[in-house]
């Protein structure tokens, strides 16, 4: 079974890092995984995205035609990648920056004001990690252990002091009440 | 009592015959390099790149380990050797075309990096091996096979003053220009080579000597006329002297 993800947003929203954390979590779960970034001139100003392919077998290819999961942290990413979603696929969208709309049928839309929640948490830079918490819930993760360990793997030594805040953000995303909103 | 008045340096290969044209200053320059290698006891600890041009056959004359670098890349090759083996003595012996035209980037960057290397550049104002074409050091007015009406500024620009350029590089410890036109100047040339070698041995930086040399064949001159040209024409543009010596005011 192969599942593929795109995490996309503005440069500076930490989409590459979020992707790396997710890929690490899959690695820790003994899955085959490949992470592939958009890179180059796109990095400045425009949208940045990375693709993560998780599989029980050797990962075939990146640059997939269609997607199982999309995390869109801004409107541009939402508009750009939504048409690539398979029927029944899930999009997690940052409703702080993405208008709540459901332009394509047959897709599981998950809207949450991620940037606002991150700001409330004390750091808007946690938007990306919050989205991973939501994603973990959608993926049916029983807990956040793998993602926490993955964060520990990915954050460089001089950023380890941010781990508690990152864990908080993960948890907030994971436990966010989608029904209440 | 027999007195030895002439001895072939140990660093010159036995039974070797120069393949340089008669009267060419390369022979004198190579011998000076060999004498300095002997005097500083460097022969057995030297690894040196050969360069392209009349200097290419250096490995046929010098009894040292050598690797031939592609045209212009001698100081890149030397950098590779020295960085792999900082304990080895590494020097280049290049013509002005190799050092200052095709290899100018490699040469100046080696100096700028302050590589612990020594470089000798033979300036004879022409491409000797290929038959006397205009080179980076050809003088204004000089007739060559590619400037048959004489080098004009309008068409060809100016000759490069190599020792001055090298001296401008902050990594250079020593840069001098010498000539081989008189016995006294040959002695001075040897001292300059020694100095350029010593700054490497002391780890001070890049050591450089530009040697004004003759090319009687391509200049269409006798060796004597050629040396007169060095004195009367070349030295006016390429003024001999020490352009940088960071050891100058220090006690040894």
């Amino acid at each position: 079974m192969e599942k593929n993800f795109i995490i996309a947003g503005f440069g500076g929203q930490g989409v590459l890092l979020a992707g790396e954390v997710l890929a690490n979590a899959f690695m820790l779960a003994d899955k085959h995984v490949t992470w592939y970034p958009s890179y180059g001139a796109e990095m400045r100003g425009g949208t940045v995205n990375c693709e993560i392919v998780m599989s029980d077998e050797e990962v075939s290819a990146v640059n997939k035609k269609d997607l199982d999961f999309l995390v869109a942290l801004n409107q541009l990413s939402f508009d750009k990648f939504l048409p690539k979603l398979k029927k029944g696929a899930t999009v997690i969208a940052n409703s702080t920056l993405v208008k709540k709309s459901q332009p394509i049928e047959g897709i599981n839309y998950v809207f949450a004001p991620l940037s606002e929640l991150a700001t409330e948490l004390g750091n808007v830079k946690m938007t990306n990690i919050l989205s991973l918490g939501l994603l973990a819930k959608e993926l049916g993760f029983e807990n956040l252990e793998l993602l926490e360990q993955a964060l520990d793997n990915v954050l460089p030594p001089h950023r380890k002091n941010l781990l508690p805040l990152n864990f908080k953000a993960l948890k907030l995303g994971y436990t966010y009440d989608l029904v209440k909103q | 009592m027999a007195v030895q008045t002439f001895k072939v340096p140990d660093s010159i290969k036995k039974d070797m015959r120069y393949s340089f044209c008669p009267g060419c200053d390369h022979g004198v320059a190579v011998r000076l390099v060999a004498e300095v290698l002997d005097e500083l006891g460097l022969r057995e600890n030297t690894v040196a790149p050969a360069s392209i041009g009349c200097s290419v056959c250096l490995y046929d004359f010098l009894d040292i380990d050598m690797v031939e670098a592609p045209h212009g890349r001698a100081l890149a090759s030397a950098t590779g050797i020295k960085r792999a083996h900082p304990e080895k003595f590494v020097f280049t012996y290049q013509g002005d075309g190799d050092f200052a035209s095709i290899g100018l980037a490699e040469s100046l960057h080696a100096a700028l990096r302050g590589e612990k290397l020594s470089a000798i550049c033979i300036n004879n104002t022409t491409y000797g091996m290929t038959g006397g074409q205009m080179g980076p050091t050809s003088l204004i007015g000089q007739v060559t096979t590619t400037s048959t009406m004489g080098r004009t500024v309008e068409n060809y620009g100016y000759p490069i003053k190599i020792a001055e350029h090298v001296a401008l590089c902050d990594g250079t410890a020593y840069s001098a220009r010498v000539s081989l036109d008189t016995v006294a100047n040959i002695r001075k040339a040897k001292q300059a080579i020694k100095k350029a070698f010593e700054v490497q041995l002391k780890g001070l930086g890049f050591g450089f000597v530009e040697i004004l040399s003759t090319c009687p064949t391509n200049w269409h001159m006798t060796p004597q006329q050629a040396h007169e040209r060095v004195r009367n024409e070349m030295m006016k543009v390429f003024v001999p002297g020490v352009y940088k010596d960071i050891t100058a005011n220090k006690q040894d």
Partner: protein
């Protein structure tokens, strides 16, 4: 990036994997000039090599970098450079020279789009540049093509091994996709024995005659002999070192072929076509030189068709045609530059060819 530890799986980029593998392979000197999509190699090594007390130089050009590598290799040292496409083009003279000089140069070539400046997206446009090269004269380079990040590690080890075992320039031919993608990898200790270079390396003429390494070949008879010896060596390399991956070829009517990162999608396509009941096999050369001519010639006796899939307009396909020598049909699926062709498109195209 995460701490790279031997024996522990970590998630890392192809470029970092190559760089760290070089360190573990005992690379003593790195000389390089930045170019996307491989700059992480130099960035990583700028720190690591200095930590390890090894040589690292930011060269003034690729021309200079490859010549620095040659200088270091002339002393028998393990040295390498890394670059990409239009900049590897600058190194062609040196590569030819290093081949005839028999210097153990290791070159990491991470392909980007061309010709000319092209762009930094992935490509396989430099199959010819690596295997045939633009250098002058008659010589061969050893070329290894990884298709996973783990292979980036394993084949970097192998590149150092083969370069030093055969005293021959060896190119690791990756692409922008390989360089930029992250996958879990495990770094094992360098698995090869160290090669003794004391009989030829330049170390100073102490207690032995002076040595010279040169490409100048004035004497035509000697030059003929030298080049014949080189080609005898290449034959030995072909016999000993040819490496490839194949599956489902035993009963295959059609074999899909690809090298490097696009072969991953091709592999999936083969598996899917098999599920659909089609007799399709997979073949991936891992060494591009030596190319698996012999095995392909064998397969061509019973396979009806080879389909060669490349992100170029057809470069490896020439080697396939030579190997097959008319015994089977050879067809192509190509895209000039960019990310690999997706699996669905390959499947469609192959079905159309049946």
């Amino acid at each position: 990036m995460a701490e790279l530890t031997i024996g522990k799986k970590i998630l890392t980029k192809g470029n970092y994997a190559i760089a760290h593998a070089a360190v573990l392979a005992g690379c003593e000197c790195y000389f390089g000039y930045p170019i996307t999509p491989q700059s992480e190699i130099g960035e990583y090594l700028s720190v690591k090599m200095q930590e390890e007390g090894r040589a690292f130089v930011c060269a003034e050009s690729e021309l200079s970098a490859i010549n620095m590598v040659m200088g270091a290799c002339s002393t028998g040292a393990k040295a390498m450079t890394s670059s990409s496409s239009c900049a590897v083009a600058l190194m062609q003279e040196a590569i030819a020279c290093a081949c005839t000089d028999e210097l153990p140069v290791v070159l990491i070539s991470v392909m980007r789009g061309g010709p000319g400046l092209g762009y930094i997206y992935p490509s396989q446009g430099d199959y010819n540049q690596a295997t045939i090269t633009g250098g002058n004269g008659d010589f061969r380079t050893i070329v290894l093509a990884p298709s996973t990040v783990q292979e980036c590690v394993d084949l970097t080890y192998k590149a150092f091994h083969l370069a030093h075992k055969y005293r021959n320039p060896t190119i690791l031919l990756a692409d922008g996709l390989m360089g930029q993608m992250m996958e879990p990898v495990e770094f094992k200790p360098y698995p090869y024995e160290e090669i003794d270079h004391s009989d030829w390396a330049l170390t100073g003429a102490k207690g032995r005659p002076a040595r010279s390494i040169k490409s100048l070949g004035v004497d035509v008879d000697k030059q003929c002999e030298h080049i014949k010896n080189l080609f005898a060596k290449y034959k030995k390399i072909e016999e000993n070192e040819t490496e490839w991956e194949e599956f489902d070829t035993e009963d295959a009517d059609i074999i899909l072929m690809s090298f490097g990162s696009p072969s991953r999608g091709v592999k999936s396509a083969v598996k899917e076509l098999r599920k659909q009941g089609l007799k399709v096999g997979f073949f991936r050369p891992i060494t591009l030189f030596p190319f698996p001519h012999k095995r392909l010639a064998e397969l061509a006796q019973r396979v009806k068709k080879f389909v060669v899939i490349e992100i170029n307009m057809g470069q490896m396909v020439r080697d396939v045609r030579l190997a097959v020598n008319g015994a089977a049909k050879v067809e192509q699926i190509n895209k000039p530059v960019g990310a690999p062709i997706d699996v669905e498109t390959i499947i469609e195209e192959v079905k159309r060819m049946i």
